[in-house]
Amino acid sequence: MEIFDFYRKDRWPHVFCPGCGNGTVMNCFYRAFNELNLPLDKTAFVGGIGCSSRIPLYISSDALHTTHGRAIAFATGLKLSKPDLKVVVFTGDGDLGAIGGNHFINGCRRNVDMTVICINNNIYGMTGGQASITTPHDFMSTTTPYGNKEYPFDLAELAVAAGANYVARWTTRHVHELTKTMKTALQKKGFAFVEVISQCPTNFGRRNKMADPTQMLEWFKESSVRREKVRTAAVDHFDLNMAGQITIGEFVDRNRECYEELIGVEKHG
């Protein structure tokens, strides 16, 4: 499948700014999906509200563009009513971790079979650059003009603690690893969560001395540390995540029974 058979060319031009990381994520996703040879007509894409949540609307398949924060709840209903459908959720840090935090935690716990890709750009991009729940400590945004005094959420660790079957985090600098992880996530039975740290040069980089997207990618490269190394050093993730260091890699890969198997809904498909 060519990339423009996968993405709807008739929806171009898209809403993303020049230098946005969403294009990289979309490219990696297309490659993973294509290499697995998955049927597009049997895959539904769900998004909430925000830049990353717009991606489902550009894919040439069934798309459910929902309310802010509730994509996982919508996807849960969709998957359980039509178990033969593969469900992929595209979401962002604000959509998933802030307004949708409760659905995220309970989605991981319930372990319904779906792939959730969170493009974490550490900012509310679509509304113009307000601090989000993943904005690093002391970084600038329009609502933290003296620097962010809060500390960021570690979404991947949260997913591990809440019970997701598969959890990984990469950055838009790690395209090969990200593509490979997306393939694993798409094949994983149960709740698979992929967090991608992504650049928003327009609304994050510009206010934090990284207006050029390549500067942000350099920053990702320099700050990234494999989770195995972080684990052995037994450091405090809470403080280190994004503030000085981005923990990357596969966080968990396990085979808890997914919700459909537990309630026996699959045979009704």
Binding site: R11, D41, K42, A44, V46, L57, S60, S61, D62, A63, L64, H65, T66, T67, R70, A73, F74, A75, T76, G77, L78, K79, L80, S81, K82, D84, L85, N102, H103, I105, N106, I263, V265, H268
Partner: protein, 376 residues
Amino acid sequence: MSAAKGEHFVQGNEACVEGAMSAGVRFFAGYPITPSTEIAEGLAQRFKGTNGVFLQMEDEIACISAVIGASWGGVKSMTATSGPGFSLMQEAIGYAAMSETPIVIVNVMRGGPSTGQPTRASQGDVMQTRYGSHGDYQIIAFAPASVQEMFDLTLESFNYAEKYRVPAFLLSDAEVGHMRGLLSIPEHLRIVDRKEKGIKRADEAYDVPDDLVHPFPTFGKGHKAMVTGMTHSENSRIEPEDVKTHQELVTRLSEKILKNRKDINKWELVSPDSKTMIISYGASALGPKEVATKDQRVGLLRLKSLWPLPEEPIFEAASQCERILVCEMNLGMMYWPIRRIALEAGCKKIELLSKIGGEPPTPSDVRHKLRGMGAI
């Protein structure tokens, strides 16, 4: 899957469960809340051994979101809640209206605002049902007054939600929901299924023109459905800045309901030629009905439909009588639209009997008010 035909002695909420099962509900997502919990418990029980999915979600926002998602999977889906939970659902109700998703929401009304009276009946949510989410939209709402109507109107809520691709509401209350009485399930039931894209069936849903209600593109069938709460064109292209697209879309969402008011509206008349007409609905119509059946000077128009407002029967009643008494369990909500229609019909004397606190107006409350009006 549906209950045995014939007669049963059940609770209102149990009759709602049977109505939903008879309509063919396949998905329920709920969160415990008094006084609607028996509906969730009932469906959890009734789905056992069927292809229905029961889901207890983390909050009411998740419930209605899952219900909308399930509807796009092509199954009939519903939720049931009460006051505070209903407030939480409002944003997604607007989404369901905008994306034209057929769903059923049961609201067993309790006394509000806020936590209010969890175990007591009220009719305080009738305006929230119509206007609760932001923006212009229309919905369909029914108000049952008996155990039998909890069954009948749950079934009708599904039928009309499916036919018009709209969220439909069953506005019950703690009184009717917890009332026990006779439920008679007939041999033959009228069941309407949604008009599906790419399928031609001889079905009532197909009677509505395509330009008013578009055929439903079920997910997973190669339709490349694009469902969004943003302003979108006929071919589901997002056009949030386009004036004409927004005008056309939002106007159509309203018109598909308002133009079909006569098809949707249901009511009951007792002694329609009386000089005094009581207009009421749900549990608060029980006292007035007793008065109207015993006293020939008094008639009753009992609204089984609340939204879209049954304007024609109200107009007709108002143009034939000298005075109207609106009877409801809030401080005057349906009173105002009814008053508007009555004034248009030339009836000048329109009074309100409102009773809040959890008890429906008794026949003696009604007689006392009518005496004060000089009606009896």
